[in-house]
Point group: C2
Chain length 255, copies 2
Amino acid sequence: MTNSSNGKVIDIASVKLACSSCSLHQLCLPMGIGLDDVERLDAIIKRRRPLARGSYVFHLGDTFRSLYAIRSGSVKTYTITEDGSEQITGFHLPGELIGLDAINSNQHPCGAKALETTSICEIPFERMEELAAAVPALGRQMLRIMSRELNSDGELLTLLGKKSADERLAALLISLSMRFQERGFSPREFHLSMSRNDIGNYLGLAIETVSRLFSRFQQQGLICVQSKYIHLKELHQLRELAGFSGPDDIPQARA
Amino acid sequence: MTNSSNGKVIDIASVKLACSSCSLHQLCLPMGIGLDDVERLDAIIKRRRPLARGSYVFHLGDTFRSLYAIRSGSVKTYTITEDGSEQITGFHLPGELIGLDAINSNQHPCGAKALETTSICEIPFERMEELAAAVPALGRQMLRIMSRELNSDGELLTLLGKKSADERLAALLISLSMRFQERGFSPREFHLSMSRNDIGNYLGLAIETVSRLFSRFQQQGLICVQSKYIHLKELHQLRELAGFSGPDDIPQARA
DNA sequence: CGGTCCCTTGATATTCATCAATATCAGTGG
DNA sequence: CCACTGATATTGATGAATATCAAGGGACCG
């Protein structure tokens, strides 16, 4: 609400925030919905202040009220196992919708934490359901998004069930790469917002193993890492290692 | 369509087959939907002859047309990795809906194969979507079912990412146990319709490891196995091993 | 400048996969 | 009814991949 004293500035800001002008609308909820309906969707969405790194979008066990779309930044979702340790279930980039797994139980079965400064759109679920009843395309898009999520879960299962440590890391890098590309960023060079610890946790590997793999990949000339920044020098080889034989392989990937 | 010459017999048969009288309707699509609406749902569902063990509900890559609900028997879903090996993504029992992951891409990203003689209901998706537009509760139930599926995927990820071999097998046994119980069968004694190979594949373990674990569990007095039949003698200990500390732990489990 | 956190690297231990041999079972045909 | 075949399961011996333990190095922050 800075600049709230000047109507014009607000307008510009709200245009920038509207779904219809959001660069992510092709990936997000508005996809495939008519313009007027996007406006109706827009009307129920609440924007939030940017979240600082380390703060929570929602906590594990919170009552379910809203879905959240990521506008910028990144988020990890995780559960806590009985023994108290964390299991990361996903890294989420702009345009992705989180909280879908809470619909069933009315309570978030996982928590969501910002990996860096992150801004999100909150979508109150009840109001969205009402709207979906009136706008069938919205309901359809919801189903499609959830279906896509099931797809990527399936891939992740294969990853954890069948693949070796280096294949897993390569798969994560390629998944991030493809997703950055979809969002208009370089697929070869990006910033790893998650810690090595998070990566290991997510991939089912010890942190030391992850570290060693980064070193080895670098030695082999596949990548170039400098703490959080990474450059994928041999995208093709990594892709092969990861088991993504070609771009036509699998429509969606998630990490 | 046997007995099609006699109206009365058909009536009895159709009553037995109708959603409204199906013992699974609490678990399946009709849950939470008014009686008249269940009838409308019923009207679009096609029943199929029982499938023989080893035959397919749908193949990997098939064009997506319908969802399938399992009436009796059991089904495994699987994907094929680039190197040609199979990865089982789930074992499915009566009342469960399969094919949801095909909504996004209009093509089945996994195959589904009957583990034993199995009968299913086919639900043409387009007609169901039309109906859902008229019956909001149906759309809501769809979302809930998909959300539940996301939940169980999350648990499975933890299983594969964090747990040791014996914890994994225990978790599978407990998951099956709980699901049999929900369906009115004994939670302590049941038939494993899947092969050891399938179990290992699903749990990310070698078949030999699975075999050894069955032996060890038996030696420890936790279970009693005779080829496909299993008796869980120490449900509580298994539960603990699996990491299901209590019945209030996690609302839904899947294997 | 010192402290803390995160990461890296090396040495050792453990778990589980792999290889190989044998056993069991279901079905088939003699 | 029994021997034969192929598929599936068990068990043992070995090895490889990765976790764990331990120590040191760098980067960021006050």
